[in-house]
Subunit: 362 residues, 2 copies
DNA sequence: CTGAAAGCGCTAACAG
DNA sequence: CTGTTAGCGCTTTCAG
């Protein structure tokens, strides 16, 4: 029944194949079959030798490895991924890699992934929901081993559910909603806010302004919360006004331009992140307000620039690189350990004392 | 000949398959076969409908598309890649994403890739040859459509040749060696150096120091070249000393700490990049040297920070984002157009006048 | 315009 | 310890 002319058939096939290969930019990639033949074993044995699986004669394996090296054999990840269902790829969806905070996180994530033999694909969402959705779909098509996202709020409910049900491990970099199915890893933002308040209070300040982000922004809100929590302790005579603006350099600049000229007894400012603090710095210079002589300033993040700013910025340090590292560790653990319950990690913070805050003038 | 019990055979197979699928974290992914069945066509027709290929009845296609959408069908990229040999993945190998320059490039590259439906995998090499080699191998296993590298010099000759022969399009972000097989895209570094010299000369400066990178660093050397070229024009009475150091903030700082105290008539400094210029800024503040009153300073790159530094840095602007964009455009063009000859693009530069350079004091 | 069938290169049972 | 074999999910001739 048509299974006769095996020889001529396979000859045809081989012909077609060769042609294809040659047209493929001359890439004469050695395939498993080639090294198997060259080593005088079947491709199964070759595969086993290379995958490091047990059950292979040491000498045989040696021979295979030798041939593979000589032929510069590179396994085809697609073929492997197709059968194993694993991709060795991790998706990293952040707002914008140009934000130094995310660059740090990305580097931490990439280093951890590299160590584990995985790749990370970079996605800049700008927190735009359409983009974010496309990224997630694209990543799932690639069977990624996991996804790291700085925030999932841009996604609508059904989309979130579908992601959760897909079984792909997800780690979020901002605060989780109660019983969300996703893991999270983030700095102790509340404590950071608290530390800033405590430090400034100990310096004698009593009238504060806190520059926060626009409305509800998970992490920034937590910082405000901790800050106010300290100031509103029983018996405290401190007062603080919270000003909302963009969580960027420009945002901080604009708010400060309005605030600084008529600051009404305010002697200390806590900016929700360093970028905003730099905006305050710029506005202060322009307006002739001296920092820290006239106003003390504390930031949050401890980006590299903080130490070289003028004056060097006192700020709350959060472990950005470690955040990225931890995120991929969690992803990989979730993958291998069949871990089903989401995990939540909180990294410590501490205040880095530099020159932008000083004792209140008596 | 064993082709009898088709029914029971396929039943077995299906059983095994179902089990596998279920164990796979409950991911009930719709496969092409499912949507084909659901639409009452064969998977061939389904495939054609979805791939947008011609030769499908409009109504049929419509039906397939509808079913696919309803079932949230996502093609498996591995399966597709395995047969097409294309991955829709671009590799980006840079020194360190935390360097703002590369962050800009990366964003440009990612945006261009996103627009073309491709992903970019991020690789931080630190210019370390072992890491770079591993990245390249890993990328080739993934059949990437192309690779962008900031420099290939960390690779030894044989490795470079193998890369070239593999047929994977490569775009370098630094100057090419004569008849290198790789494409390049970079800013007009020579002209940038020239512009810096011209600007400072017009301000009346005659004694210069140029802070360059360590020894031969492609792009930085070109900047030095352009700078010196201008100053050494016939009839010029200018003189310049070139100082080598690390091409980083620390590098600039250290060199400046030595240079500034006893600067011996030097009134203007040209730093090979902004990071080094910031190092100079810091050293100047510490040493009580005023910029631009005592010494003028010009940088190169125009990173975001340049505009908010104190004083705002006059610098040579290069189109970092566009560099990344152009690189992936070139990659994609090379892929589709079967373009064989390497392409070389040079992007323009211009000087951005801010506050760190001023007329020489008479 | 649509169906049947042959693989892409590799892994993973299952036998031997 | 090693060989056989059945696919992973999709694209792509080749027939009809």
């Amino acid at each position: 029944m048509g299974t006769r002319h095996i020889d001529s058939d396979s000859a045809d096939v081989n012909n077609r194949k060769r042609l294809q290969n040659e047209s493929k930019a001359g890439s004469s990639v050695a395939k498993l079959r080639d090294i198997a033949a060259s080593a005088g074993v079947t491709i199964a044995t070759a595969s086993r030798s290379l995958s490091g699986a047990y059950g292979v004669n040491a000498a045989t394996r040696e021979r295979v490895l030798e041939v593979a090296a000589r032929l510069h054999y590179r396994p085809n990840r697609f073929a492997r991924g197709l059968v194993t269902g694993r991709s060795q790829i991790i998706g990293l969806i952040i707002s914008d890699i140009r934000n130094p905070f995310f660059a740090d996180v990305a580097r931490g994530a990439e280093d951890a992934a590299f160590a584990a033999g995985s790749d990370v694909v970079l996605c800049n969402s700008d927190l735009n929901s359409e983009r974010q959705k496309r990224y997630i779909h694209s990543l799932m098509e690639k069977n990624v081993d996991g996804i790291i996202m700085n925030s999932i709020t841009a996604l609508d409910r059904p989309e979130q559910n579908r992601l959760a049900e897909s079984g792909v491990p997800v780690v979020l970099l901002n605060s989780h909603e109660r019983n969300s199915p996703f893991s999270t890893v983030l700095a102790d933002n509340v404590r950071g806010g608290w530390l800033a308040a405590e430090y400034l209070s100990n310096l004698g300040h009593r009238r504060f302004a806190h520059l926060s982000g626009p409305g509800r922004h998970g992490n920034l809100s937590m910082r405000a919360k901790g800050f106010l929590q300290y100031l509103r302790k029983p018996g405290s005579d401190a007062s603080a006004s919270v000003l909302h603006g963009g969580h960027t350099f420009e945002g901080g600049y604009e708010v400060a331009r309005k605030l600084l000229p008529d600051r009404n007894e305010i002697t200390a400012i806590f900016a929700a992140n360093d970028a905003m603090a730099f905006g305050v710095l710029k506005a202060a210079i322009e307006l002739g307000v001296r920092i820290p002589e006239d106003v003390s300033l504390v930031g949050f993040d401890d980006v590299e620039l903080a130490s070289i700013a003028h004056p060097p910025l006192t700020t709350i340090h959060q472990a950005k690189y470690e955040l990225g590292q931890a995120a991929v560790d969690m992803l990989l653990a979730a993958r291998s350990g069949k871990q089903t319950a989401p995990e939540h990690r909180v990294l410590g913070v501490h205040l880095v004392e530099r020159k932008s805050a000083a004792k209140v003038r008596s």
